[in-house]
Assembly symmetry: C2
Homo-oligomer: 238 residues x 2
DNA sequence: GGGTTCAAACCGACCGCCGGTCGGTGGAGC
DNA sequence: GCTCCACCGACCGGCGGTCGGTTTGAACCC
């Protein structure tokens, strides 16, 4: 018997699976990563995997949930800060969401590039959906309170929240293209378009919440960091 | 030799594959439909399939392209109508896109329900992307001309087009939920939300194009037809 | 502390089927 | 009657998933 059996408590082993899967999925995509690869990386048998998860899909779901919970944790305390008014809450909420996206991994490129690969559609979509489900009620509440405070003017806070969340994901294709291109000129063109679009998205949110133009600023330091980091990266690298 | 060989010309056979695949994908999803099922339905061998397509993914791509071309054909003549001004072009463009979506199949439910099933993410996303690629330049041109005519007021027609197209897809989750629910009260709640959101989306587009409020009306007959049709369907059926 | 028990954790051979390959062949058109 | 392309179908490695069996450690008794 070449391999001694190693037993770990429930949660530890499960987290181990999630960590390994996250890494492998990010590197090669959900479809292209086999359960065999995952169990090999963890160093356990098939049985162990199917003891902790009902299926490969179940693992993906769990991964999305874990990410959503982390996002929620990072943004939840904002809404519970009684010293802020609705507008301050909204802006720091938006900022927090973007910051959290960035901070989830130390290496920006390593964190972003894989998630924007075409083969990771499932992973991305699943994660986004889980995050949206958890974050939508929070955002709705902020907006509704803002309407009461007369900071915002919108007939339908819930729809507004949904649309804002949806708009946050509308840059995916652009960022994806940005990370994929090897041509410097094309890269700069795309970067410029991204900044313009972020600026425009800011005014779109202004208008749909009935805020004075220029209130929401999305093309901020965070976005610039992504750009700057990308600038260091792909067009010169392999 | 039980089966006589039937030879057909290139295009006819290829279309046959596309038709069959569209039907099967819609019924069971891309992943859950195997190449074996497709060739069985067409009545040919594996070799025939891989003679016409490089891979299963290639077939999906071809399907998305075919749909995108059909959409483009249906909307293209609008922009070439010189008698219309930019606003008329935009509204009939939007209407045409929704009409096309509806008309692509006689049976509304049969056409919609499958595309909104969770397992059809790939099919849906691929199609949407192909359609967007083909439609974006058209919409951008309409908006740009509208800016010249001073009908629209936006600093960035390309971003505006992108955002509008993106917003058109933001009801997917809602419609999906609408089709899935079996509970009458929940169903009516969702239907109400959909109409409210469509109304709101109209004003969002108004605002982002600098139009007077109430110019764009999305909660129109087409949307109502979907709702009415859905009303006849799921909550009473199995 | 040593023995007994039991469920949870884990093992790995096995299954049906998948997407994809390839050497071969029928038949329409020249 | 020859050519060439559409088509054939046995075959492949590997996939996700199953299942009867084995190991392990904590709880309990003495």
């Amino acid at each position: 018997m070449p391999f001694p059996r190693i037993v770990k408590p429930q949660v530890a082993r499960r987290d181990e699976f999630l960590d390994v899967a996250q890494r492998l999925f990010a590197a090669a995509g959900y479809d292209a990563t086999s359960v065999n690869q995952i169990i090999a990386a963890v160093g356990v048998s098939k049985g162990a995997f199917y003891h902790h998860f009902q299926s490969k899909e179940d693992l993906l779901e769990a991964l999305a949930c874990r990410f959503a919970e982390a996002t929620a944790r990072a943004t939840r305390d904002i809404i519970e800060d009684p010293t802020l008014d609705a507008f301050a809450r909204l802006t720091s909420f938006l900022a927090s969401m973007r910051r959290h996206k960035l901070d989830t991994a130390a290496e920006l490129r390593a964190a972003f590039e894989p998630l924007f690969r075409a083969e990771n559609l499932q992973l991305y979509e699943r994660t986004q959906r889980a995050v949206a489900d958890v974050v939508r009620p929070i955002l709705t509440r902020i907006i509704a309170e803002g309407v009461v405070e007369r900071t915002f003017d919108t007939p339908d806070p819930e729809s507004a929240a949904e649309i804002i969340l949806h708009l946050m994901g509308s840059n995916r294709d652009l960022i994806m293209a940005l990370y994929r291109t090897r041509d410097r000129r094309e890269f700069e063109r795309l970067g410029d378009r991204l900044l313009r679009k972020l600026a425009y998205l800011g005014t779109v949110i202004d208008r749909l919440l009935g805020l004075p133009e220029g209130s929401i600023e999305l093309a901020d330091a965070g976005a610039l960091r992504v750009l700057a980091c990308a600038l260091d990266g792909p067009p010169t690298a392999a």
